[in-house]
């Protein structure tokens, strides 16, 4: 069944305490290349049937009114998941 992906990120001007903790911990494992981390959220909305423009609009509205809080977060992406691409990834773990 098709899925719509919604990505939500903390606003750039809001200090992200979780991201800050992660960026502090990464060097302890030898991951020294990263100077910043911001942690966001990914939602996958499953649709029974075809994703019409109306359904996509519903997803955008849900993202703006409930899945994110505009005071602290931005909706950075709303898109229909490319099922063929995800099947490729799931079916070919040895390629990683």
């Amino acid at each position: 069944m098709p899925r719509i992906v919604v990505d939500v990120m903390p606003k750039p001007e809001i200090l992200d305490p979780q991201g800050k903790a992660i960026v502090g911990a990464l060097p302890r494992l030898g991951f020294t290349a990263f100077s910043g981390v911001r942690q966001g959220k990914r939602f996958e909305l499953t649709v029974d049937g075809e994703v019409t423009e109306e359904i996509l609009e519903q997803a955008r509205n849900a993202a703006a009114t409930m899945l994110s809080n505009p005071v602290i977060e931005d909706v950075v992406n709303v898109e229909v998941l490319d099922e063929t691409a995800s099947e490729d990834v799931a079916g070919a773990p040895e390629a990683v």
Partner: protein, 257 residues
């Protein structure tokens, strides 16, 4: 064994209420402090009325004169603290009543404050404490606005010590909103001594412009009885939280006259 009541046993009061004021206490799935809030209401001399988040009855507010949205972890803080509770059927009624001409007094404590910001009754939002730890301590606050429905029994600038206990307590808003809050005297409480969670400008609680809706992170309902509250600076156990409930009663009694 009798069934445990959902909210504190309302029939167990040893003293008769001082007024016939009814103060609703809302319970969501995951609310923790509804019993303490109901107890605080009773100790202040009013009658607590349990309200249920999913009540779709047109009279779901049960004729209450004020509402307390207590602390806890409604819906497990899933999505964001208060984000799902905000869409409960009862919340729509509370928002309408708070914005109506009658200006229903509403107090949001901790998770209740988070719910009020998600419901847009109060501006800003709460994110995780800047130090990322859950914190539980006795915290001193300064009352910066004693003209609200929930603070009128405090002196202007009075320092009170009550319990602070939360994970997502860092108050944030954009600079324009913060400037407006300051200019309009809508910062109701500020942390004293240190900033326990990185809140912008040390803000512990705010009010709406009408003064009927107040939200704060610390817990007045845990400091209402001698011998059980946090230890205050004067060496006595604090009952500093009682003033919230005395304030709303004072306002309600004043209106009735």
């Amino acid at each position: 064994m009798s069934e445990t009541p959902l909210i504190a046993d309302l029939g167990g009061s040893e003293t008769a209420p001082l007024t016939d004021a009814k103060i609703g206490v809302v319970t969501f799935p995951g609310t923790l402090d509804d019993r303490d809030a109901a107890r605080a209401v009773r100790l202040a001399g009013a009658t607590p009325v349990p309200l249920w988040h999913a009540d779709t009855d047109p009279a779901a507010l049960r004729g209450v004169d004020a509402v307390v949205i207590p602390g806890g972890f409604s819906y497990g803080d899933y999505l964001r603290a208060g984000a799902i509770a905000r869409f409960a059927p009862l919340m729509a009624k509370i928002v309408d009543a708070a914005n109506s001409i009658d200006k229903l007094p509403v107090l949001g404590i901790c998770n209740g404050f988070q719910i009020l910001t998600e419901a847009h009754l109060l501006p800003g939002s709460m994110v995780k404490n800047d130090h990322l730890k859950f914190i539980c301590r006795d915290q001193t606050l300064r009352v910066e606005n004693n003209r609200t429905a929930w603070t009128n029994q405090y002196a202007d600038g009075q320092e009170i010590t009550i319990v602070l206990k939360n994970q997502d307590g860092q108050y944030v808003a954009d600079e324009k909103t913060l400037d407006e809050l300051e200019a309009e005297g809508r910062v109701a409480f500020r942390y004293v001594g240190w900033n326990p969670n990185g809140s912008r400008r040390g803000i512990a609680g705010i009010t709406n412009s009408a003064g009927n809706v107040v939200g704060l992170m610390p817990h007045p309902e845990h400091a209402v009885e001698p011998g059980f509250g946090p230890l205050g600076a004067d060496g006595h156990y604090s009952t500093d939280g009682l003033g919230f409930f005395a304030s709303v009663l004072s306002q309600l009694v004043g209106e009735a006259k």
